[in-house]
Subunit: 341 residues, 2 copies
Amino acid sequence: MSTQTNQQVRLASRPVGLPTSDNWQLVEEPLAPLEEGQVRVKVLYLSLDPAMRGWMNEGKSYIRPVAIGETMRAGAVGRVVESRSGRFAVGEHVSGAFGVQRFWTGAADDQGNPLVKIDPALASLPAWLNVLGMPGMTAYFGLLEVGQPKAGETVVVSAAAGAVGMTVGQVAKHLGCRVVGIAGGADKCRFVVEQLGFDACIDYKEGQVAQGLKQHCPNGVDVYFDNVGGEILDTVLTRINMKARIVICGAISQYNNTAPVRGPANYLSLLVNRARMEGMVVFDFAPRYPEAVARLAQWLREGSFKSREHVVEGLENFPAALLMLFEGKNFGKLVLKIADA
Amino acid sequence: MSTQTNQQVRLASRPVGLPTSDNWQLVEEPLAPLEEGQVRVKVLYLSLDPAMRGWMNEGKSYIRPVAIGETMRAGAVGRVVESRSGRFAVGEHVSGAFGVQRFWTGAADDQGNPLVKIDPALASLPAWLNVLGMPGMTAYFGLLEVGQPKAGETVVVSAAAGAVGMTVGQVAKHLGCRVVGIAGGADKCRFVVEQLGFDACIDYKEGQVAQGLKQHCPNGVDVYFDNVGGEILDTVLTRINMKARIVICGAISQYNNTAPVRGPANYLSLLVNRARMEGMVVFDFAPRYPEAVARLAQWLREGSFKSREHVVEGLENFPAALLMLFEGKNFGKLVLKIADA
């Protein structure tokens, strides 16, 4: 095995606005022999996430930037193909931050990049990057711990057909909330309502978000889970209830700005309504992931919860596939298939 | 008494930008005889507040707008000069929303505009519009309930020499926090540090707020009590700590905008830092005012707390005096003296 070749997509330069092919470099190099305590994972599926855009920027954030020349960071699932650790056996499936490459090699007990066994019998491998992965954990803890919805309240979530949004909405339905999604296009809206069971979905591409909120949230908005920022955040701010909670999970509309970020001009609605806007980062909840996985997997098994992935194939297609996120072209959680098994 | 004349300042039209003399009308009318259950209060001091600007606008807010032709709303202290209620005797001092006029006449038990007895022996009458009045209550509950500062944390407050700011900072010092004010001009900054005991004060007129925060908040900002909004809010957002709390109390920099409100472009710092921005309205804490008054009055008596008022005289000067707030010309809580006793 150790004479095989690895392929990596490395960050070649920092983007201004949308990433271009110039920002990436595809590199081949032979795999080094495994050291004691290490394992080698063949990457099967990569997670493509809006947050990746932030990791490409220089400067302090909740996680260090990817360095120039470094393999692009990515969550992934794969299969152990070599092991010099007693903790992992060849053939086991694992998830971790394996990066945009064919093979990940590292210490089995690296605290900074923990390797987690996953059970493909519980859900498909792509679902382990979605509902049972980072987006699912983000949605679950962001909604429950920051949004704190109560049965009967109205929850609105943007990017509703995306990885985080679909879990936010379905968890909120399980909690007995009225759930209204915001998504781009009639197909996504139909999916969100008909397949995921949301009460309604507003197609922001029709430009009637304020009108849609008025119609579908007759009792106002108690929890808004924001994945997009920009104009939609401002519009929702005009419809919030007293003591509303706005979960700031992301701002995909702003990530590729070359102009300054658009701040929410209607933020004084927080004052009028004694409401709150609060940020969250999923890693803070890592010790509690198993609790969320157990609950979500149970719902998936029962059929009362759906996981939808949008699979694109080929490591070399990573740069183009990433752009789909920012163009709203993915329908469900976007994953990149690297290998069959 | 009932043959006396009242004078009222009424809202004549809604302002665009800064209020002008055209927005006001001074009206004289005879006082009607008192009805059973009513009291008449001679207004002694009026409270001038930034929030008044919002009350002059049409549209839904946390309180209904002042109507065209209506006496301008204002908090005030005064003396009971006539009474047909067993609850209030002539000569007693009271506070209430008496409005911009010489005499207030109303039901002693009006739940919508409660009359509260005050004790001039506990603090001066103007102090009852400041530390022991709405600004003090706003500062006290906004800081404690929304800001939730802990001893050793760093609290930053804008408009630090203003009515709310001075109480926020002094309460935070009593709690064992490091306290840094932001104020306009060297005189105000000196007052805040030397008289009120803040650890430092940044003069925003020198244009070095970011540098000042870096210097005076070496451990970052845990609580920011925002009275101003705009650029200062954005700058503080770049210095907040993990789990920081931003209290949205006001946004005086934006109240007279004819352009749209400036939203905080750096709001994604909330995400990175898992921080919170939350609005508050003092009225929510009305049942707990006595608790705050008792504690603040005790500190005033002990000399470990200061109340500073800026007194302007004359009902007819109300329009000009109100503008002082928006030009930063008041130094301490701005009150309008209407009568001696």
